[in-house]
């Protein structure tokens, strides 16, 4: 099964069908949601509103791509919100120290810093053989704690940040927000890599059947390590973008975001059990979740119920995901004797 998924042979077509239909259903849900909201208020499709939707979802999309890669290997990264927060605060600190630093250099610093934090996760998981859930729950608090200790209650204000950096947060290129273009580039790059490159397929192999992957000669530990480094790097990128978008930063930036990220990936069809899902799906899940929270107030849903609605929609997708996972597992048992 593992070797098959490496080469995407026709006998694995049902997996492709399930995931493809899953992405399509997420996309369909998005279209329906937008249609319903537009019916209630046509201004939901105004140029400004579309720009807002794109801007709102770009951070979550970038994080969801990283999370998808980790979840595909049957791990989870709960530390992304803290990595984002720490990188965002670091961005402010770097700009206070070096106000003339080019924006592109700051993005590179953020990615490198995030990759370093992700590598800590990856090393603990791959070398110390501790479950990812435990490690990243620990680093969630550690990274946030470092952030708190570093910030000591200070704030970064827009006046601390260079104007061209803040322009990255709100500016557009041919009508498209920079942030959305960055997010799109991330999605396409990692989508192509995971789908086509041999080393990209190896993530799926590990998540599908780790023993078979090992027998096949994949260096599982190193691969899982790199998944966490990628997730960290993308969270670092998202942290720099967060700083550009909001301008006002304290040590709490991105707190609780990890839950939205995992939810976005799961809603987008990335199976928690590993081995299934695409970054396109995760990105769509992120756009869907963001659009839900933008649409609910437009639809006039009572503020008391909005959170419950978002939660219900997440639960519904996880239940659907579980159902599909069980069904495929059963099918797998039927077709393939070595399951387990």
């Amino acid at each position: 099964m593992t070797t098959l998924s490496l080469q995407r042979q026709p006998s694995m077509a049902w997996v492709g069908t399930v995931t493809r239909s899953r992405e399509f259903s997420v996309f369909l849900a998005l279209v329906i949601l937008i249609a319903v909201t537009v019916a209630a208020n046509p201004r939901f499709l105004s140029a400004q509103s579309i720009k807002d939707l794109l801007l709102n979802s770009s951070i979550l999309v970038i994080l969801a791509v990283g999370q998808a890669i980790v979840i595909v290997t049957k791990n989870v990264d709960l530390s992304v919100g803290s990595v984002l927060g720490l990188t965002a605060f670091a961005t402010g600190k770097v700009f206070i120290a070096l106000p003339d630093l080019p924006v592109i250099a700051m993005l590179a610093i953020g990615i490198a810093f995030g990759a370093f934090l992700g590598a800590i996760n990856g090393a603990l998981i791959a070398v110390a053989k501790v479950p990812a859930l435990v490690v990243t729950l620990g680093t969630l608090y550690i990274f946030r704690g470092v952030d708190f200790a570093w910030a000591q209650g200070q704030q970064i204000s827009p006046s601390n940040l260079p104007a061209d950096f803040l322009a990255l947060g709100a500016g557009t290129l041919l009508g498209f927000p920079y942030l959305a273009l960055i997010a799109l580039a991330v999605v396409i790059a990692f989508g192509l890599y995971l789908n086509n490159a041999r080393s990209g397929r190896e993530f799926y192999a590990i998540g599908s059947d780790v023993l078979a992957a090992r027998l096949y000669g994949i260096r599982v530990g190193r691969k899982v390590f790199s998944a966490f480094a990628i997730s960290g790097a993308l969270a670092g990128l998202a942290g720099v973008i967060y700083a550009a978008k909001y301008g006002n930063l304290d040590a709490t930036a991105g707190q609780g975001l990890e839950l939205n990220v995992v939810a976005a990936a799961v809603v987008g069809g990335v199976a928690i059990a590993g081995g299934v899902g695409t970054v396109y799906g995760a990105a769509l899940g992120a756009v869907l979740l963001t659009t839900i929270s933008s649409a609910l107030p437009v639809l006039g849903v009572s503020p008391f119920w909005q959170r419950a609605m978002v939660g219900a929609l997440i639960l519904a997708s996880i239940v659907l995901d579980r159902y599909l996972a069980l069904r495929t597992e059963r099918r797998l048992r039927g077709h393939d004797s070595h399951a387990g």
Partner: protein, 364 residues
Amino acid sequence: MKFMSTTGSRRLAPTYIAIATGLALALSACGGTTNTSSSASGGGATSSASADPNAPIKEGLKVAFLPKQLNNSYFTVTDRGGKAAVEEYKGTFSEVGPSEASASSQVSYINTLTQQGANVIATSANDPKAICSALDEARSAGAKVVTFDSDTDPSCRDIYVNQATAEGIASTQVKLISDAVGADGGDIAILSATANATNQNAWIELMKKELQKPEYAKLKLVATVYGDDNAQKSQQEVQALLQAHPTLKGIISPTTVGVAAAAQYLSGSEYKGKVQLTGLGFPSQLKEFVKNGTMKAFALWDVEKLGYLAAYAGAALASGQISGAEGQTFKAGTLGEFKVEPDSTVLLGDPTVFTAENVDQYNF
């Protein structure tokens, strides 16, 4: 190394995620600075009558500031003000506090301060009742207790330093949006913190009352939305507001997170300068936006002076200048003289209004 390794436990994975999710949800629910309860009710602290307004401030007073939580920029500023005051009267300043603003997290810090023989404990309570017995113990050991920003039950402390009255906040906010929108008036909306925030709701009610005054007849409040003191949620609520109410002329956001997020959004959107914004915000956060024309003015009490006044109130208590009874007066350094009001409360004053002209003078 992996999440799970056998097929059997593979089924458990979602359960673990759910548990972790729940945990993180519970832990991420922490308080914002403006969701505090500022109205004191009930009887004042029982105070002995022996107060000598002319007594000098004792030197070497041990003054401890115990904010709701450390790492909260609001309290970083109040405590900075407190420290300045303590240094002026040659006391010893210390700052301790929990990292989380949960109900009982301050208790152990109060107990430690009691053992260390603190003369003054200045605190902003996470919960009006949870720290009462600890404060009672501190007071029977000789410490004077001053609450600021967020009060305890009046019986548990000697003095409450109130940053601003709810009426003062409401009337300032309505006045500012009225001035910004102009004489023609129009539709306005409120962007609040959470739907259940006591303080916010009290202010909103008073703003509604204020809007009924004849001078505000042309302003119409069309919606109140809740950004949960989260930057992204606040921006999404503002976006929805502007879509649902195309004629909207102004937004009031009486919460620091909300007003900063709204300003950030408006300044990068087509609504900049067309939809007015005011609220309660930090000068450091909103400086850019009053200068670039996104907003004309906003308000907040002087946070640094709040801590400064609390430190002086504590010193006045510990030196016997006041006992907390109504009508007593004390001098708070450069701020001048303050009078103790009913319920052993001292009022800092009206909120300060910040505009492009004066915003650079403030350092918080």
